[in-house]
């Protein structure tokens, strides 16, 4: 008999623009002790299924269908019965660890109130936290959420989620927004929780690597429907449905490392021993070194990957290369006669904030033409049309406002705008980190095609080593504001020389090793 049984689940949200069907008839079983992963892109309805199980959807959601836990119909439970079951029968590790702990209560306090609520011994608290990797430190001082790092918050939430000893643990996007090292730590944490308590788990994730590493069974969702399901190993090796195949292929860890070798074109952008100190925070904040002694060259037609942990100075270096920030030391040399703003263009991390929210996209996309006085509407259209076609975008999109267009489309429109002035250098600052894997693969593929036809030089900034390796001829690794190693992608991925690069590749291999 299965532990959790969901039959013909349908969830619809009432929105200002009409009803929105998020889940369209899903059947799902989780057996006792089994780990099931729900995977899919954002909007596939996977988180909605998880929250519907807990009956914690917002008020504008209507739920139809049946959800049973150990034969008990959750839809028929009173709110009070439901509260009794939450935490005790179904535990949750919530999405968004940064905001999911109550900021004004210490972690110990939140642990105690949860234990008390479910009639557990208060003395279990320190032990639970320790098991999740948050040992009580020497002092008896309480720890408040703001004192914890992102990974520590996630582990505290995991400890809180299993505090009531639930038989079913739901983990909603447990690795979203975490870098490679933290991701492998969370995977360890979840595996620990399972081995020690023998509970069943429903893991909701967009990350196929995490799903394959942890789950016994994987269910692939698309637009609120199940596309395919199967044993994790079998599905990882031979996905059946074309959608699953595309999803697996779009996983950066499964992309082949770029084998094209370094380009030997003329250098088009050279940075020589660039340094910059930045002030952040208040009036009296001390300036910190953001970039120090960084040198790189970018050849025509080449993609140089720039990678490193978050906060290592990648974005600051990009702004210096674009002339948006002046370096304190060192020099930047562009091989160009015209203005820098036509020679080099930027594609930023957040497509949804790339355009003036109060302008129609048509006007925004054409703005470089107006700025550089390159021609009127007719000339603009003549240049924009083929670019739209090349990027598989409908001209209708141009009549909309930015918020009416999806992130992937916006990023491609931003690319159109950047290419309008026919730059020689394109600086891509985490261009796909806010996008789904499939959209990511699509955008990156489009950039690679354009690069080939236009002989563009690209600086590709990414925290994802696998993604950088798949799309770059060479990779530069940054740590603490310094470029510690630059090597052809294959060489860096498989035989890193510096300690920093080695640490980085190991963290990415850790996620992969569990799958194989």
């Amino acid at each position: 008999m299965s532990h959790l049984t969901i039959r013909d689940l349908r969830v619809t949200f009432v929105t200002p623009t009409g009803p929105l069907a998020a889940v369209n008839g899903v059947d799902l079983d989780v057996a006792p002790g089994e780990i099931v992963a729900l995977v899919g892109q954002s909007g596939s309805g996977k988180s909605v299924i998880a929250m519907a199980t807990l009956r914690l959807l917002p008020a504008n959601a209507t739920v139809e269908g049946q959800i049973q836990l150990d034969g008990r119909d959750l839809g028929a439970c009173s709110p009070a019965e439901m509260r009794q079951m939450r935490g005790a029968d179904i535990g949750l590790i919530p999405q968004n660890p940064a905001a999911s702990l109550t900021p004004v209560l210490s972690v110990e306090m939140q642990m105690r109130e949860t234990l008390r609520r479910h009639g557990r011994a208060l003395s279990d608290g320190p032990d639970l936290l320790a098991r999740m990797g948050l040992p009580t430190r020497n002092s008896r001082r309480r720890r408040y959420p703001f004192e914890l790092s992102g990974g520590m918050k996630q582990r505290a939430l995991a400890a809180l989620g299993i505090a009531g000893r639930p038989n079913l643990l739901i983990a909603d996007e447990p690795t979203k927004g975490l870098d490679a090292r933290l991701r492998s730590q969370i995977v360890e944490t979840l595996a620990t929780a399972r081995h020690q308590d023998d509970m069943s788990m429903l893991i909701v994730t967009h990350d196929l690597d995490v799903a394959f590493a942890l789950a016994d069974r994987v269910i692939v969702l698309r637009n609120g429907r199940i596309v395919e399901q199967g044993r994790a190993r079998a599905l990882a090796r031979a996905p059946g449905d074309p959608y699953t195949r595309a999803l697996v292929a779009a996983q950066p860890s499964r992309m082949p490392v770029c084998s094209a070798g370094p380009r030997r074109g003329p250098p088009i952008l050279t940075a020589d021993a660039v340094g910059r100190r930045m002030k952040s925070g208040g009036l009296f904040a001390r300036p910190v070194t953001a970039v120090a002694d960084a040198s790189l060259t970018l050849a025509q037609g080449e993609t140089l990957g720039l990678t490193g942990p978050s906060g290592c100075g990648k974005s600051t270096l990009a702004r210096i290369l674009l002339g948006l920030l002046r370096p304190d030391t060192g020099t930047i040399a562009h091989d160009t006669a015209g203005p820098l703003s036509r020679h080099a263009q930027l594609l930023s991390q957040h497509p949804e904030t790339a355009f003036d929210p109060r302008w129609r996209l048509e006007r925004s996309v054409a703005e470089p033409f107006a700025i550089h006085r390159l021609g009127g509407p007719r000339a603009t259209r003549a240049v924009v049309r083929p670019l739209l076609e090349a990027l598989d975008l409908s001209p209708d999109l141009l009549r909309r406002f930015p918020r009416q267009v999806s992130g992937g489309q916006l990023q491609r429109l931003a690319l159109v705008r950047a290419l309008l002035v026919q730059p020689k250098v394109l600086i891509l600052d985490e261009p796909t980190s806010m996008l789904d894997v499939l959209t990511q693969a699509q955008v990156m593929g489009a950039i690679r095609d354009l690069q080939d036809t236009r002989d563009l030089a690209c600086l590709f900034i990414s925290h994802d080593l696998d993604l950088a390796a798949a799309f770059s001829h060479r990779i530069a690794v940054m740590e603490d504001g310094r470029i510690v190693e630059t090597a052809p992608s294959g060489q860096l991925r498989h035989a890193p020389q510096s300690d920093a690069a080695r640490r980085l590749t190991e963290a990415f291999d850790a996620g992969r090793a569990r799958v194989a």
């Binding site: 080099a344 930023s348 957040h350 109060r358 470089p368 700025i371 918020r403």
Partner: protein, 267 residues
Amino acid sequence: MKVAVTVLAAIAALCLAAPLVAPYAPDAIDMTDRLSGPSFEHWLGTDHLGRDLLSRLIWGGRSTILLALITTLATLALGLLTGALAGYFGGLVDDGIEGLVLLFQGLPGLSFMLAIAGTLGPGALSIFIAVVITSWADFARVVRAETLRLREAPWVEGLRALGAGHGRVLALHIVPNLLGPVLVLFTLRLGRIVLAIAALSFLGLGLQPPNAEWGVMINDARAYYRGAPILMLAPGLCILTVALCVNLIGDGLRDRLAEPDGREVLP
């Protein structure tokens, strides 16, 4: 909100066209017809000097609304200028303006408004000065914060990378984006300033009798309102209606202009 706009527009039109629509002059004294109730000649009756109440309401609204509008606009202009300068250029300009804003926000506005208007002596000009001095800092603070937020918005940086100059960014992008929040702030402030002007006039610090002004009319009516409560009820309801309409519009604008992410334009 539609109702509020219609009502306010009707009142404003009526008051601004006072010379054309008011049946009598606001200061036409008729001692033979004092404190008469509503009649066919005087729809709302007459006051203690036999002046037509309806005409005085219309002329009084003209004074109140015009003074409130001009004062709020001046406050807005000062706040917009200082706030946008501080927000966009930062540095020393910002530090200086920010210091002044903190100073004025740290002081009790109403008490200072009263003291300033009182010291300068009764009259529309002293009300104007008192209100502007004690209200500009709020505008400046909001405009500064909004400008800062816009200046650091990724799309503004993107425009700089595309080669757009400071002038283009400010004129075509930042200022139009500021209009929404500024409009909301203007409307909500206008409601408060209407009340403040009426209160100062009531105390005898604003327009002087025999001028018609709603606050002045309420003060005039104090001695007679037991016998003729309409003398006090009517101007009070006028102030209430105008302030309520303005506030309703402000609230409606705020909801309508809220960013797509649900972030409200103003607290």
